[in-house]
């Protein structure tokens, strides 16, 4: 997901030197040494159902229980008595249970619709049959197999791609008929960078086994760091200039430092954001499946630097294999003393829980993700307060993208100075791009920041038949739609990026020459309508209005009224989901207006 929700002058003006953030840092730095710390934090204290649970002595997250309840009751009506009994068991109010369950797609899906058909942009382009035309299936926005579209996830949790996927959805019969299959082989993973950082391990195979990973150096940087003070990690990452790879590009060390300084004594958390929701990007899936110990090592280093003791890996339910692999990795790491009360024999205590998503794009946004972990509706929170000071259960919390975390051990290994020589001065390092099947050579390509888009397109061999790619979608649904004339643009976060270019999480989907732009425009509108969390009016009602108008009359897409509505959504929305929604829509219209506005009404 792109930029995080922000409703402060500070963050809008300039992320890196946010005065609001600095003010918070100063406050927390002072408060930590004062007895009156509580008073300082109380001004932002929201009285939530989590506060209610906490006051009732309930501990831990109700998310796993909610997900289990949702699965157990899927496809049938649930009576008030049943809700009340379950809510009481969880120490949650009954309405809160109803509210949370009704928020998530998985919880409201029928058990019979166990097959999940990818309706992401890449699969749509590949001609995937929409879920509503298939028995026992429901649509999801992306399964992360854009290199081999289309993709289907069966009831057993196995993924089928390409012709196999087409065959399965065409076959009648109950979903359990699907036989267990080997997962599709990982895509090609290459690097254009002078040195591979994030793909350093996954390019060479499967390192999910702890022994294999350790033989390859996993946890060696953690071991080294534990012999130094936390400030060593913090300073090194700060000097590296690392920014969040989820798309918001916030300075990683700033979050860590704010968390470490925050004035709550009992517990701090670090969270690995494995809710890779952008249709078109899938590097996080590969990292979670093939290099889980790389993620965990990064998370442990983040925790050490942030003085956190609780770790969470949150993985979207569309990635069941990643979830299983990560769970096994955590168990193995704990058994080996890599996690637990004495990490690698040191005095540092840190353990990790793995939580599943329940189907919501917005949960990739860090505050919505925290709400989801708390078992609440996955809606964005107002900021400030920032998670770094008031995060999970109101405790200081760092949320980092999976890719960012995998970078961290590499930064320590290389040293900040060497790392800074990768990428640009303002945005050092590398970024993994996810290329879809619309390229001759799809797969993951690691680049240094500042690389031109045309270099990537050329390296991928242009289109499947070698024909030049005329347009592509970069950075997910809130990213951008670029014609070939803009392929000169540099791929970079921050001020060096052109205003019409949004790198986001690095997904790239090539648009074929005969693309049905109207259908894709419609699917973009549907995506925005269905995934808006419902927190703010311009986004939730604006997206619905856009979709309704377009369905009714495709020509309305080029009307002044449509444009005025985009302005209301862009200027008025609370978080980036709304404010970043209009740009790609305008770019679609810029490139394909005639094709889009001539569409027959449904």
């Amino acid at each position: 997901l792109v930029a995080p929700a922000a409703d402060t002058l500070g963050e809008r003006l300039e992320t890196r030197s946010s005065p609001a953030m600095k003010r918070l840092e100063r406050q927390s730095a002072g408060a930590r040494h004062q007895d009156e710390g509580k008073a300082a934090t109380m001004q932002h204290e929201d009285v939530t159902v989590s506060a209610y649970r906490h006051a009732r002595g309930a501990s831990g997250s109700p998310l796993t229980a909610l997900a289990a309840f949702a699965a157990a009751t899927a496809g049938r009506s649930v009576g008030a008595g049943e809700i009340e009994a379950f809510a009481a068991e969880l120490d949650l109010p009954a309405a809160a249970v109803r509210g949370a369950l009704s928020f998530y797609s998985d919880a409201s899906a029928s058990a019979a619709d166990a097959r999940r058909v990818c309706e992401g942009l890449s699969c749509r382009i590949a001609g995937a049959v929409p879920a509503r035309e298939i028995a026992n299936a429901r649509g999801v926005h992306c399964l992360g197999f854009c290199d081999r579209s289309p993709a289907v996830l069966d009831a057993r949790g196995d993924v089928h791609v390409g012709d196999e996927a087409r065959r399965i959805v065409a076959a009648p019969g109950p979903p359990s008929a699907a036989k267990a299959v080997d997962p599709p082989p990982p895509p090609a993973i290459t690097s254009l960078a002078s040195r591979a950082i994030v793909t350093r391990r996954i390019a060479r195979g499967d390192f999910s086994d702890l022994g294999t990973a350790r033989a390859d150096g996993a946890y060696s940087q953690l071991e080294r760091a534990l012999r130094r003070p936390p400030s060593f990690v913090l300073d090194e990452v700060e000097r590296s200039g690392e920014r969040g790879r989820g798309g918001a590009a916030f300075a990683t060390a700033v979050k860590w430092r704010a968390c470490a300084r925050a004035a709550t004594p009992d517990v701090r958390y670090v969270v690995a954001n494995g809710d890779e929701g952008d249709p078109g990007s899938y590097v996080d899936r590969l990292l979670l499946e093939l290099d889980p110990h790389g993620v965990l090592e990064g998370l442990a280093l983040a925790a050490y630097a942030s003085e956190a003791s609780g770790g969470i890996v949150f993985i979207r339910s569309e990635y069941p294999r990643a979830f299983q692999v990560m769970r096994r990795a955590v168990v193995a790491a704990r058994a080996a003393g890599v996690l637990g009360p004495s990490v690698l024999g040191s005095s540092f205590a840190f353990d990790v829980e793995v939580f599943p998503g329940m189907g919501s794009y917005v949960c990739g946004e860090e505050t919505a993700l925290l709400n989801a972990i708390e078992g609440r509706r996955g809606e964005v929170r107002l900021k400030p307060p920032y998670p770094a000071t008031h995060g999970l259960y109101g405790r200081p919390t760092v949320v980092n993208n999976v890719e960012t975390l995998v970078d961290v051990p590499a930064i320590l290994e290389l040293g900040a100075d060497a790392y800074r020589r990768l990428g640009t001065t303002d945005c050092p390092g590398t970024k993994a791009l996810s290329l879809n099947h619309g390229f001759a050579r799809p797969g993951i390509v690691e680049i240094e920041f500042g690389t031109r888009l045309e270099e990537v397109v050329a390296a991928a061999g242009e289109g499947p038949d070698g024909a030049p790619i005329e347009a592509l979608v970069l950075g997910g649904p809130m990213g951008c739609v670029l014609p070939r004339s803009r392929f000169v643009a540099r791929l970079v976060y921050g001020r060096e990026s052109a205003p019409d270019v949004v790198l986001g999480h690095g997904g790239i989907i090539a648009l074929p020459r005969d693309v049905d732009a109207a259908a894709l425009f419609d699917s973009a509108l549907t995506f925005f309508r269905d995934e808006s969390c419902g927190k703010c009016v311009p986004c939730k009602l604006g997206a619905r209005e856009l979709a309704a108008r377009f369905r009714k009359d495709a020509a309305s897409a080029t009307s002044p009224g449509f444009s005025a509505l985009l302005e209301v959504i862009e200027a008025g929305s609370l978080c980036a989901f709304g404010s970043e929604m209009p740009r790609p829509l305008r770019q679609w219209l810029q490139l394909f207006a005639p094709r889009i506005s001539r569409r027959e009404p449904e």
Partner: protein, 900 residues
């Protein structure tokens, strides 16, 4: 250019205060920014985006409600662009699916005014609107008017500490959820109405509101007449009817909040059962007579009994439900005209132990703190009180403090609602407070931990530490724990809780209403002193008073051993003041307490009793003795609104004006004196209590010029009589300062006292009390395996004469005997069964409710319905010093009702 510390809003420099939102700063400077989802005093939702403003340097407009203002910021609140944006947003809301746009636009609501101000006319009404949920006596939800702004959810969580609401679905389909099944009746809703007050679109509304035509209703600022919290209310009336009651937004006590009783339960005011004319007993019946006849009859009979038997044969109970002025004037009359100190009030049967214990240990027999300390407290101890039911608005404040991070310990035999939120719950055996508190004190002192007790505070401000330490050290911990029925781990946790520092001790009748009532409070004060709590911010002793003016009645001198302002009868200065103000001083010898008066009546020593709005026949313990006393009287006069169990036995019943029908003052549990104002005329010939006292006085020979007395003049006299406490209180100040004044308030410049003993204890040094636990006369009685506790529930109030005449009956049925599941299983009793509840004093038949809220071996019974006769069973045992009855522990057993 702006100066440092200033921002500019629409070109005007405004001061920036830390933590201020743009909205707050703009409003202070007089700029009106439109808002929809923002509720004053609530956490910002930030969702409607109607309050967007432009800020120089910001890429996009910011929501003023949730964006912090900063020095140097340049804000524009009004521009064409903003108007277009706001209009666009409002159009989206007004035309959202499922809404009835026409009704939304035409209602008298915040949202309709926003639509009008932005020229938004909803396109259509959505006819597919869902049904209106209205299974509740007070609350209604109309989904076709709900704009999902979420103010109701914030209000419920942040004002009441409740979580009735959530939201279902997502995106445009996001909609309000109520409880488990879209029904207030089947939800945790306590009907406080906070959601209704915050709803900007009319989706949530009050069922009971009688809609007046605009301009025809009148609003009167007053104080709630139910419990002792003292919420300020605004009473909306039309002619002689109360239409609606609202909490006063800026009230210090309740900040706009009320409970179901205070907000909705006012239908009794227009009940056809109100008494409207004086009634004189004729045989077994009553005959209506005129006031002239009634006052002459009363005066003649009182004078005759006085002449024949002296003042000792006459007694008076003032009303804790009525005003200070009424109580004062009636007590003055009996003390002077009949030279009797047989003056008491129902404080005797509730907090008399507390007042005595606090006075002895600290010097002042009242709360040492204010409600404002709840929000400051880091640790709160609730002992023998059930605030969320008996003092709901204060209970909600305590729950809010807990939800915001305060620590909480609950000491109560029952698992009351707050126990579910407590860090530590101590379910001690009824009546065993002293044992448990001594065990905790022993632990705190014995603990080597630094700071477990506040040694500096003890050295500077407390006397008797060495003796006390020796006393508790001599106590056998095992024996104390056995007496309290508490295990060692619970004691460890309780001691650990208090070792963390000062605490706010909120306590109630579970301490006071025992044979060891005074000792219970003294031993709790011991913990307050050991922890250095009393006189500190966010800490101290906060007894919760049961009735709206029970604090005031005691303050006014409705006690047999004190006159106004707790002055001693033998204090020469006080006697001189009496002579000056009253013309004479009362006898020096103290009179009789309520229980003693009833006993004296039964013995024929007390012959006349005047009861101003009390119902001892239903509310006082051991009904047979009470009734025997009342029925032995030669003259029983009762001022009442309804024909209560006591009034039925009177020789003369005088129709009383209600809280809505008279002027005066009430004093709440935090010593706050607030103005009560008549909003409607009394029904028929019912009269304000103070006026009856005045006119009776004149009939009994008080100077005729007293006919000019009014409540303001009466209070002036009170201030002159007790200047240390009330010298600075006057109606002029009470009208100007709408939150009233907290006594002590010595002179016109004294702002009143929110926290007593702050700079030093009133008695010099506070006193630690060495008092050992002993079983009461109801403990350990063979054949009676249970201890019965009586008390209140949320939706009824005391003897129920008011709440039983309202829709509260739909929220709570009759009295039920609460029984623990294990006990029920052993006795073979099911919920809903009728059983015989029997003590050594009487037996009743009552329906059982089985609940894990109650500990095995304990029973709980409410006493709101006269048909229950709960007090037939309750022991006559008293605290020997305070004479407070032991409602909180009666040995009892259960049996089957006779078959018929």
């Amino acid at each position: 250019m702006s100066r440092a510390g200033e921002a500019r809003i629409d070109g005007v420099a405004v001061a920036v205060e830390p933590g201020d939102s743009i909205l707050a700063a703009a409003r202070r400077a007089g700029f009106a920014i439109p808002t929809l989802c923002h509720g004053d005093g609530l956490h910002s939702e930030g969702g409607c985006r109607v309050c967007l403003v432009e800020v120089v340097g910001a890429r996009r407009p910011l929501a003023a409600c949730c964006s912090e203002i900063a020095p140097g910021m340049v804000v524009t609140t009004t521009s064409d662009r903003l108007h277009v944006l706001r209009r666009g947003i409002l159009e989206l809301i007004a035309n959202a699916p499922g809404l009835d746009g026409a009704r939304l636009a035409s209602a008298d609501t915040v949202f309709a005014r926003l639509l009008a101000a932005h020229d938004v006319a909803p396109r259509t009404a959505d006819r597919a609107a869902a049904a209106v949920a209205s299974h509740h006596p007070y609350l209604r939800f109309d989904p076709s008017l709900c704009v999902a702004c979420r103010r109701c959810d914030h209000a419920c969580a942040e004002i009441q500490g409740n979580f009735v609401f959530s939201f279902g679905g997502r995106g445009a389909a996001t909609h309000l959820l109520i409880g488990a099944a879209q029904d207030f009746s089947a939800s945790p809703c306590v009907a406080c109405g906070a959601c209704v007050d915050h709803c900007p679109s009319g989706a949530l509304s009050d069922v009971d509101r009688l809609a007046p035509r605009p301009g025809e209703s009148r609003r009167t600022s007053s104080v709630c007449g139910y419990c002792g919290v003292g919420c300020r209310v605004e009473v909306e009336t039309h002619e002689d009817r109360v239409l609606a009651i609202r909490g006063v937004e800026d009230a210090a006590v309740n900040r706009g909040h009320l409970c179901a009783k205070g907000r909705y339960a006012h239908a009794w005011q227009r009940s056809g059962e109100r008494l409207t004319r004086p009634l004189r007993r004729v045989g077994a019946d009553f005959a209506e007579i005129s006031w002239e006849e009634a006052l002459a009859f009363a005066a003649d009979r009182l004078a005759a009994i006085h002449a024949a038997h002296g003042g000792g044969a006459i007694g008076v109970l003032t009303s804790s439900r009525s005003t200070n002025e009424a109580a004062y004037l009636l007590a003055r009359l009996f003390r002077t005209r009949f030279a009797t100190n047989n003056v008491d009030c129902c404080a005797r049967v509730c907090h008399s132990s507390t007042a005595l214990a606090l006075e002895r240990t600290t010097g002042t027999g009242a709360a040492t703190t204010s409600y404002g300390d709840i929000e400051v407290a880091r640790s709160i101890v609730i002992a023998g009180a059930n605030p969320t039911e008996a003092h709901p608005v204060l209970g909600a404040r305590i729950l809010e403090a807990r939800l915001r991070g305060a620590r909480l310990m609950v000491i109560d035999p029952r698992r009351i609602e707050l126990a579910g939120f407590a860090d530590v719950h101590v379910p001690l055996r009824p009546g065993s407070n002293v044992a448990f508190f001594n065990a905790v004190a022993r632990r705190l002192i014995a603990s080597g931990a630094h700071g477990a007790i506040d040694r500096a505070y003890l050295a500077a401000r407390v006397e008797g530490f060495a003796a006390f330490a020796a006393f508790v050290a001599s106590q056998d911990e095992d024996a104390l724990l056995a007496s309290a029925g508490i295990d060692r781990e619970t004691l460890d946790r309780a001691a650990g809780f208090l070792a963390a520092g000062p605490a706010l001790f909120v306590h109630g009748l579970g301490l006071s209403e025992l044979e060891q009532g005074v000792a219970s409070v003294e031993s709790l004060v011991n913990l307050g002193l050991l922890t250095g709590s009393i006189g500190r911010a966010g800490a101290g002793m906060m007894p919760l008073r049961g009735q709206n003016n029970v604090q005031g009645n005691a303050d006014m001198g409705a006690m047999p051993n004190r006159i106004t302002g707790y002055q001693r009868l033998d204090d020469p200065r006080a006697r001189e003041r009496c002579r000056r103000e009253w013309g004479e001083a009362p006898p020096i010898a103290p009179g009789l307490t309520v229980p003693a008066m009833l006993e004296a009546a039964a013995d024929g020593d007390l012959r006349a009793l005047w009861i101003q709005g009390e119902d001892p026949a239903q509310s006082d313990p051991c009904e047979s003795r009470v009734v025997a006393g009342l029925e032995a009287l030669e003259l029983l006069v009762v001022q009442e609104m309804f024909l209560t169990e006591t009034a039925k036995r009177a020789h003369l019943v005088l129709p009383a004006a209600s809280v809505f029908e008279q002027d005066g003052t009430f004093t709440n549990a935090e010593r706050r004196i607030q103005r009560v104002r008549a909003a409607v005329a009394p029904p028929g010939e019912a009269r304000p209590d103070w006026r009856v006292a005045r006119d009776l006085g004149i009939a009994l020979g008080r100077p005729v010029h007293e006919s000019a007395l009014d409540p303001a003049a009466i209070f002036d006299e009170i201030a002159r009589l007790a200047p240390e406490s009330f010298g600075g209180v006057s109606y002029g100040r009470l009208d100007a300062n709408r939150d009233g004044l907290q006594w002590p308030c010595a002179d016109a410049r004294d702002p009143g006292t929110s926290r007593v003993h702050e700079s030093g204890f009133v008695r010099g040094k506070a006193r630690l009390t060495c008092v050992a636990y002993r079983d009461s006369s109801e403990h350990g009685i063979d054949g009676y395996p249970y201890l019965l506790v009586t008390g209140r529930e949320l939706h009824h109030y005391n003897v129920g004469s008011m709440t039983r005449r309202t829709a509260q009956n739909a929220l709570a049925g009759g009295d039920r005997l609460e029984l623990a599941p294990d006990d029920a299983a052993r006795e073979g009793i099911a919920s809903g069964d009728r059983v015989v509840l029997e003590s050594g004093h009487g037996a009743i038949e009552v329906e059982v409710r089985i609940t894990p809220r109650i500990a095995p071996g304990t029973l709980f019974l409410t006493f709101h319905d006269p048909a229950t006769h709960a007090n037939r069973v309750v022991t006559p045992a008293l605290d020997p010093e305070s004479n407070c009855p032991q409602y909180k522990a009666t040995a009892a057993r259960l049996g089957s009702p006779p078959k018929n």
